[in-house]
Amino acid sequence: MSMPSLLKITDLHAKVGDKEILSGLNLEVRQGEVHAIMGPNGSGKTSLSYVLMGHPRYVVTKGDIQIDGQSILTLKADQRAKLGLFLGFQYPLEVPGLRLGSFLRTVATEVKQDKTPVGQFYAGVKKQLASLELSDDFLSRSLNEGFSGGEKKRIEILQLLTVKPKFAVLDETDSGLDVDALRLVSNAVSTVRGPDMGIILITHYQRILKYVRPDFVHILVDGKIILSAGPELADEVEAKGYEAFKGTAPVSTQ
């Protein structure tokens, strides 16, 4: 295969309103790698994911985000998606009246230029739904409206399976899942994991990391990564909490 794509975040500073929430964040993710990001509540994990995806409320004040050497800072979210970025939301939004089925179809045709005939497309979607133990009824329901917390997370994964991006940021996809759902979601992530996808897994728990073994674990505190290491770091966090790592000088990944 060709050279794996590279998502490179350099000295990223961002603010929302007057508040700085990312303060010099560095991270490099290659297609095929799985990076876990852990960090205390409010440390900036979701903010990082929004800034990566291009949320208009978040303003980058310094630094850069590049895919294969090209800055994506001026691109809107839809253009970034077309370049291969995907975000699994911590809190997926509801869109009343927009049926999940037709939404997925739009996404497939819009982002992937998917030319699969309708019947075949939905047959594929139904298989994926089944693999997440969700009934076909979801296709005719409004996007995320009235879905339980765990169902919403599984629908995020369903979208991940539909889109098959180059780089996926999964923001606490494992939160709010019961034991069985966690296994299903983990399996799904494991199946899409591979040389064609780089994954940033934002999580509070090492449970999911048992299923989806990360190549790197990063600790994010106060808007920057303060420590990066191998998968064993997750166990250490679980055992000691974050206090133990605060005050550590930033360490680069590679």
């Binding site: 979210a77 839809d78 970034r80 998606a81 009246g97 819009e110 889109v163």
Partner: protein, 467 residues
């Protein structure tokens, strides 16, 4: 809330074209007894209709302008042309029409839609119906679908029996105006037990400037019969205002089913002041499906009188108000008999400084026992400049009634748009999808072809003001 100040506009260019038309007759500007008499004379009407018009003119001149609803103060009744006759009579073949008129309707896709979807089509150009046709199998079953003027000549007895019985000139100032100068509109008669299972369509086009269009529609659905009538309307964009004041009367006899769908897409210089009323007799069903997309000001409250036991009424409406537009719409349901049910669903969208108003009345008369009625109105605001307000009136005089009323005002959140965009959907399409989702109840009431058409109209044009 989308706060990057995007402005949304519908692309009206498709409808904005003018045809150079040689009219056979153009009334002098302004309204007076001579104009009314002249219209009646040209139409060669029976004396009773001429008298009716003159009585209506008196009512119109006497009644004050409504002091509620939208701003009517800028209507200049003296600057309007009340009657413009484009052809000598309504044709049954498109090819018999003057080329500029035929081209107009072709550009609007009417003959093509007729071939594909409809059991009959009527087309009105300014004051007169220029085309009317109904499929042969329907005609054989006794279904009449023609323009109102022809109906007055060919079916005078039926017309005289029902005309203005639901909406007399005294009802309101604009019903009086319509009654005085009415011209064109549709006449539909469905005999007992006949079910018309493909819709009948009428298309109303204003072509001239500063024009008043006053069509008059009468629909009679006999016992156990069924019909779905649809209307669309557009006009070119001018710098002066036009007035569209129609009256629609619809009667569903015992066990009948009458459905009336409007997709109103006038240009932004048209005052659209319409009176629509329907009677539902025992066990009959009446449905109004009403989309108000265009016009400068619309004041329209389709009403349903449930006059027989077991009658059902449904009103489902959607209103879009963009820049410079005020959609003051809603509906009335009057329960006059026991065991009648009704459902009102109203959706409104305000954007780019537009204003929507829901104005509704639900009345349950004393003695109308076991009524079930629900009203739901939801408003969506796209930006901070736009406005919406709700005036629901409930008059419940029978204690056995079960009624419910729900209302909501929502905003499109920046996060919602971002969520869809993160899936590769461009901003304007994301907004369109959210809006289409919001009016999903309404879209479900339309035949599929029209959902596609509506989607095209609603496909929002986005320009970013801050850029």
């Amino acid at each position: 809330m989308v706060d990057s100040t995007p402005t949304l506009e519908f692309d009206y260019s498709k409808y904005d074209f003018k045809a150079d038309t040689k009219y056979l007759y153009v009334a002098n500007k302004g309204l007076n007894r001579q104009v009314v008499e002249e219209i009646s004379r040209i139409k060669n009407e029976p004396q009773w209709m001429r008298d009716f018009r003159l009585r209506a003119l008196e009512v119109f001149l006497k009644k004050p302008m409504p002091d509620w609803g939208g701003d009517l103060s800028k209507i200049d009744f003296d600057s309007l042309t009340y009657y413009l006759k484009p052809t000598d009579k309504s044709k049954r073949d498109w090819s018999e029409l003057p080329p500029e008129i035929k081209n107009t309707f072709e550009r609007l896709g009417i003959p093509e839609a007729e071939r594909k979807y409809f059991g009959g089509v009527g087309a009105q150009y300014d004051s007169e119906s220029v085309y009317h046709s109904v499929k042969e199998d329907l005609a054989k079953k006794g279904v009449i679908f023609t323009d109102m003027d022809t109906a007055l000549k060919e079916h005078e007895d039926i017309v005289r029996k029902y005309f203005a019985t639901l909406v007399p000139p005294e009802d309101n100032k604009f019903a009086a105006l319509n009654s005085a100068v009415w011209s064109g509109g549709s006449f539909v008669y469905v005999p007992e037990g006949v079910e018309v299972d493909v819709p009948l369509q009428a298309y109303f086009r204003i072509n001239a400037q500063s024009m008043g269009q006053f069509e008059r529609t009468l629909i009679i659905v006999e016992k156990g019969a069924k019909v779905h009538y649809m209307e669309g309307c557009t006009a070119p964009v001018y710098t002066t205002d036009s007035l569209h004041a129609a009256v629609v009367e619809m009667i569903a006899k015992e066990g009948a089913h009458a459905k009336y769908t409007t997709i109103q897409n006038w240009s932004g210089d048209v005052y659209n002041l319409v009176t629509k009323r329907a009677y539902a007799y025992a066990n009959a069903t009446v449905e109004w499906v009403d989309a108000n997309i265009g016009s400068k000001l619309t004041m329209k409250y389709p009403s349903i009188y449930l006059v027989g036991p077991g009658a059902r009424g449904e009103l489902i409406s959607v209103a879009f108000a963009g820049k410079g537009q005020h959609q003051d719409a809603g509906g009335k349901v009057i329960h006059l008999a026991p065991n009648t049910t009704s459902k009102v669903t109203s959706k409104s969208i305000s954007m780019n400084g537009g204003r929507t108003t829901y104005r509704g009345l639900l009345r349950v008369a004393k003695g109308a026992s076991n009524v079930k009625a629900s009203v739901r109105c939801d408003a969506l605001l796209i930006d901070d400049k736009s406005k919406t307000d709700t005036y629901p009136y409930n008059e419940i005089y029978d204690s056995t009634a079960t009624t419910s009323h729900e209302a909501s005002v929502g905003k499109i959140s920046e996060d919602q748009v971002f969520y869809l965009m993160s899936r590769g959907i461009p901003e304007s399409k994301a907004l369109t999808m959210i809006v289409m989702g919001f009016i999903e109840d309404f879209a479900r009431a339309l035949p599929l072809e029209f959902v596609v058409e509506l989607n095209k109209i609603i496909n929002m044009e986005m320009t970013n003001a801050v850029g």
